[in-house]
Structures are given as C-alpha cells and as structure tokens.
Symmetry: C2
Subunit: 169 residues, 2 copies
C-alpha cells in the first residue's frame, strides 16, 4: 500500500494552520486580559537578530501556499506582508487556508516526480516534488509554526502541546 | 503515482536528527569558546514551566524511535533519559539514528493502514499508521527539534535556517 503526496501535504498544513489560528485566539484573549499593546505580540522576538512573530506566521502561511501551488502546478497567489496585529495575522492564515483548501487531490497526481525549482537571491534549489515536500516544505512549515508558538509561550500565553497538535482524534 | 509511508517518515527523521546533531556540535564549540558550564545548555528553557533543551532532544529522539518501531511493528527499544551535556545528547541522537537506520522500507509495507495505539496516563490515542505519522509524529518531531534550535539560538549560538534544514540538495 502507499499514500498520495496530497495525503501528507495539504491536510497536514491545513491542520497546522488551523491550530496556529486557534493559538493566536488564545494569545488575543491573553492580550486583552493583560491590556497588551495590540502590536506587541506581532513584534516579539526570541533574540534581536531573528524574525518576529508576525514574520513567523507569514512565512508559515507562504510555505503552505507555495507548496500547494507548486505541487499542483498552478500560480502562487501574492499575499502582501502587511499584518501587525493578531486579528490581521489570523486573517492571513484564513486567506491561506482558503487557497490551500481549493487545491484538490487530483491536482497533485504525479506531483512527487514533478521538478520544483526555487529561486532565491543567492541560490537556486531544484527538487522532485517528494523531496521538496519532505526536505523543504515540512521542516520549514513546522519550524515557523513552532517558532510562533514558542514566542507566545515565552510571553506567558497559556498554551500547550494540545493546542499545537489540535484535533488529532 | 504515489509514495510509500517509509519515504515520508524514516528519511525525514534521519535528516532532522542528523541536522540536530550538527547544531549541537556548533553549540558545543560556542560553549567551549565562551567557557559555558557544560550542563548549562542542556538546562536552558524558554520559560520556567517548559521542558529544557535536554528533554527537547530526548523527546525528538523518542518520537523518531517510537515512530520507526510502531510503523515497522517491532518493539521500541528503551533509552534512559540520563543525558545532561551536549556530548551525551549527541550520543543519544546517534543511538536513535542507529536504530531508525536499521528499519528497512519493506518493514513499513502496509503501515499506513496499520492500527497504532498510544497509551498515555490520561488518554488513549488510536490512529491509522498514516494519521499517526501526519498528525502526531511529524508535528511532534519537528516541534522538539525546532524548540532545541530555538533554545540554542536564543542563547547566542551562531546557527541559522541552513543548519536546521541541512543537506537538502
């Protein structure tokens, strides 16, 4: 037996983003109770030379959006990085979920063998669809979701592993 | 076309653990240069009520070990949680890599449909092999690897995303 590339990509990122949105809800409630500046969470960093929460959420979203589009062989929609508050970051996640949710399993048929090329300023990365998913998409996606979680957790928001894992049963 | 459950589990965790070991090497070099107490990194936490680095590494290892064993339908070896220094944590990773590396693709044939039962003190989780991998193993594995990275990064170790992603080309 075997699984499709869809099975281990789109639903995985959909669950992760859904959980991240629920975590931002808990952060918003915490912020309201503690009268936190609405932009403070978005600007929080683990260390000065690392991306703040807002950027972590944006990159998690863009990793999911880029993966869904590239693996389906369709254009990647452009989402501007303008979010500063938790409600805005939640809306960014919802916009991503809407796009990712429209990609159907049959659009990823054969995607494991499709050539995926990523152009960065200083490097070009070439993958098969399978390697793109398992060496780039999944580690990056979970990295930025976890970093967003870590920043909120370090700021005292009452979240735990169950919030991160979400509805797994 | 399709992929095997092996393709998106064992090599994924092998790469992640290999990268984590290299990150611990960088932390060890940093610790030596800065004359850091050998146990300080292992005890570092993001916030007081969260697991320290040593436990993050142990759980990342146990997630990989448990996944490889359960998906292959073999016994899970017991590794005691005794590590306190970076060399000890590296050895724990190597012990895990050795075990995971002995699991062969054919041992995971049909594993996507196999019933996996996880007994926790307060809850019993039941999964198909596929759901166990995508809803429990992958998010947990990357969570703890990323948290270990975050703790070292926040402690000033000179690591970046390339260390985390590792040899992806």
């Amino acid at each position: 037996m075997s699984v499709s590339l869809y099975d281990v990509s789109i639903p995985v990122m959909t669950l992760g983003l859904t959980n991240l949105a629920a975590i931002l809800d808990k952060a918003a409630a915490h912020g309201e109770a503690k009268k936190v500046d609405p932009k403070a969470f978005g600007q929080s960093r683990l260390i000065a030379d690392m991306f703040p929460l807002s950027r972590q959420v944006q990159i998690a979203c863009d990793t999911a959006k880029g993966a869904a589009a590239r693996l389906a062989g369709i254009d990647i929609p452009k989402h501007e990085d303008t979010e500063t508050t938790l409600p805005e970051l939640k809306a960014r996640i919802q916009k991503t979920l809407d796009f990712v949710g429209r990609v159907k399993p049959q659009q990823l048929a054969g995607a494991d063998g499709r050539e995926i090329v990523l152009q960065f300023p200083n490097v070009t990365l070439k993958f098969t669809g399978l390697d793109y998913l398992r060496k780039f998409v999944l580690p990056n996606f979970y990295f930025h979701v976890t970093m967003a979680y870590a920043l909120l957790r370090a700021n005292g928001v009452d979240i735990g592993k169950n919030d991160y894992l979400g509805a797994i049963q």
